[in-house]
Amino acid sequence: MKIIWNMRFKMFLAALFINVLGIIFAMLLFYYYATEHFYSEYAASLYERIYIGAKNADLGFQKIYRMTLDISFDAQIIDLINRGDFAQLAIRLKEYRERNFLSDDIYCYIPTKKILVRSEEYNSVQKLDDKTADTWQRIIEHQEGLRPLFIENILSPAPKNVFLYKAEVDGAQAFITTQISERGLYYTYLDDIGTADSSLIVMFDSKGNVVSQSRALDEKNLSALLDKVHQKSSELSLTFAGEEFFGTFVEMPSSRCTVLLLVNKKKIYGKITFMQILSVLGVIFILLLSTFFIYVLSAKLNEPVENLAQVMQDVGHGNFSLRAKVEGNDEIGYLATRFNNMLEHMETLIDNLANERVLKRQAELNALQYQIRPHFIYNTLNSIRFAAMIQGAKNIGELLANFIELLQVSTNREGEFGTLAEEVGTLKKYIALQEFRLMNSFAVDFELAEESLSCRVPRLILQPFVENSILHAPSPEKTFCRIVIRSELRGDELIISVKDDGKGMTPEVLKSLSSKPTDKKTHGGFSGIGVANVKERLRLYYGEAGKVICDSDGKSYTKISIVLPVEVMS
């Protein structure tokens, strides 16, 4: 398929390009932000998970600490120790143990007698041998305050790992210790933190020893982890058994133990991959949807342009009657309006041109008609002239010579233009003829500007006006008239005027002269084509620049001015 690079397609491509850029940028930003957000949210949720577990474990420790302290301040217990009623003491300790489910067992160790009283039913009062007593004494010395001591309980029937709290009995030589089973604590508080996603839980005590964990870690990994915990590094990660882990930790405020949760990174990567796929799908979906909309939109926007183009094409094929549809108030609407105006203009121009051509042809035909007779007339007139010369009538011969020359000029179509000087020469011959005809009824004065003489003027342009003055100016009251022919240059205009001091023209005649020329011949003889013909010729040659101005007061003068653009004959 051939791609048509029309406006619609280009616009569509441009919009699509910007759209794709925008969507991709937005998606990248979204993806980046979402990933970051996801990481921090995930870390926060991990933190939240262990925070609650750790807080509960810490409260558990605190309760055991408080209970141990309570026992050591319990007046009844102090009394029982001092009285040596160990059987009763064991019962009392058992009561305490039952109050707190976390306490594994409670011992009361009396160092002076090396006697251990337990909260157990079995073997509740025990005399320790020297070695065990010493060891026990040394072990419990290490516990102080709120931090539990993590030890292997050597006094239980089967040795097991316990957390231990100790309190010196107030007012008696004895130590109360409460043991919490490590597994008990782990399953009560820590196990459910991490069971959901095969994660790793490690608990350190304040000295950095591992005290509880879900899976055994090797020494190397442990020390690496501990370093990170000590650095308070917020992002914990380590490789364990070929798998990457990501984690966070919480330090418990009172027991100062640290709980660490490590989650397999695969789980997070899986979620991120899902997010990536989701982003890409989102981009594709939005692209498809927007492509459709952009196509529809660009088609809609381009409709007026395409309509205009179609109309232009049709007009180009010659159908001038078509008009473009104007839609909207925008540039396209403006363009359509202007185009329609232009068509309108062109139509009138074409009409005018056709009209002018018809008129011109008519004028040429008229001129041809006048050329039919010339040769016969010249020959006849020349014969008459020679006859007159031979017979000695020199006067008549000259008149005839003038007349013939005038006739030649008026019928000569070859040169339509001549200089003003030539025109004046012709005019003088015509005047001589008329003087002969009309004896002493007029006189002609020439006031010609020297520089105007070489100007280019249409032939026989003055003759009709002069004839007019000769024939119509004299009146019964004033039988002799004076005619002044004047020429001057004014700017780039040549003004030639014919003025007589005769009876003037009536306003009606003036009006008829000013109106549009008609083909009617007003007079016979030389003025056959007449004043109107002169005006028409001027209009054809010069358009608006050629003017004839008639002026008369109706009683004492008539002035006809011809205005032409100055054209100097080379």
């Binding site: 930003l29 921090s40 600490y65 309570d70 305050g145 709120l146 992002e235 919480v250 009172s254 100062r256």
Partner: protein
């Protein structure tokens, strides 16, 4: 036109930069564990008052990125146990200590120990010399109670005080405030001032004893709510005006029902919150007032309902 396009793109670019920098800044935010650990040792956890103190503290601590270790003694008399707890806490790397000592005469040991360890100590509800105090203005609380009685009892009536432990300044201050006001500013007569442990039963026996020995008693000011509840048990059939201290639900209900005539409020939640704010200010090296009082108000049957609604548990 070009200007507009330029402006548009400039704005767009600025918006993008803002969004980008916001997301970068957001991602830079890491999860930081609480900055400070505050040790809190309260008198007891056996009354609503202390529970609400703890609730106010926990709330404020979360806001100030602190974590609390709240430990209390068995009851308000166990000063030895309390001191042991305090010394254990001081050994546990805490950044500040808030104490409400059960016995004002045995505070020197831990105040000195804390000074050696350079751990700042704050007291709540109980004034210790030279230690920043947060809580009620107890002397003013006593005066308020006296003013209420003086307004509502006929001239010359005999009024008495049943106060909590004489080892706690809160109670002695309240008593002093009450007695001073009655003697200086009213036409009432002070009958007896008795001290008992801050417990329900003790207060009840004291009240019975008082009414037997001084049958003309027309008003009793009791310096704690739990004791007030004990006192009304004994005075049910006597025309005695009872005024107590503390804002707690059971006492408020009694005010509403007319068994207690008035209570001077002591919002535990408010003191807990204020205590943490003061500690936070101190740890951030801001100046801290020597005495930080909470607002105390008079609660009578008219406004008890309103305080009942305020209570958050």
């Amino acid at each position: 036109m070009t200007k507009f396009i330029a402006l548009f793109y400039t704005m767009l670019a600025m918006l993008l930069i803002a969004v980008a920098s916001y997301s970068i800044q957001k991602s830079g935010e890491t999860f930081s564990p609480p900055k400070y650990t505050i040790g809190v040792v309260l008198k007891a956890m056996d009354s609503e008052h202390w529970l609400s103190v703890r609730s106010g503290m926990t709330e404020a601590a979360q806001r100030n990125n602190m974590r609390l270790i709240v430990i209390t003694a068995e009851n308000e008399t166990a000063f030895a146990e309390q001191n042991k707890i305090i010394s254990d806490l001081l050994d546990n790397d805490i950044d500040a200590l808030i104490v409400s000592p059960t016995n004002i005469n045995h505070t020197k040991e831990f105040v000195d120990a804390a000074r050696i360890k350079n751990i700042p100590v704050f007291s709540i509800d109980e004034e210790i010399d030279g230690i920043v105090y947060i809580g009620s203005n107890n002397y003013a609380v006593g005066s308020m109670a006296a003013a209420f009685m003086s307004k509502n009892l006929p001239d010359g009536s005999e009024v008495s005080v049943i106060s909590g432990s004489a080892n706690q300044t809160a109670h002695t201050q309240r008593t002093a405030g009450f007695v001073d006001y009655v003697e200086k500013n009213s036409s009432l007569q002070i009958g007896a001032t008795m001290a008992a442990e801050t417990q329900y039963r003790q207060a009840m026996t004291q009240a019975e004893k008082l009414l037997r020995s001084r049958p003309n008693t027309r008003g009793i000011f009791v310096t704690s709510a739990i004791m007030t509840l004990g006192v009304i048990e004994a005075t049910e059939n006597f025309p005695v005006m009872i005024v107590g201290v503390d804002t707690q639900n059971d006492a408020l209900v009694a005010v509403k029902n007319g068994n207690i005539d008035a209570l001077i409020s002591q919002d535990g939640h408010e003191s807990g919150r204020l205590a943490i704010e003061v500690v936070a200010a101190h740890l951030n090296n801001q100046p801290v007032n020597e005495k930080n009082f909470i607002r105390n108000e008079l609660i009578t049957a008219d406004n008890a309902e309103q305080f009942l609604l305020q209570e958050d548990f």
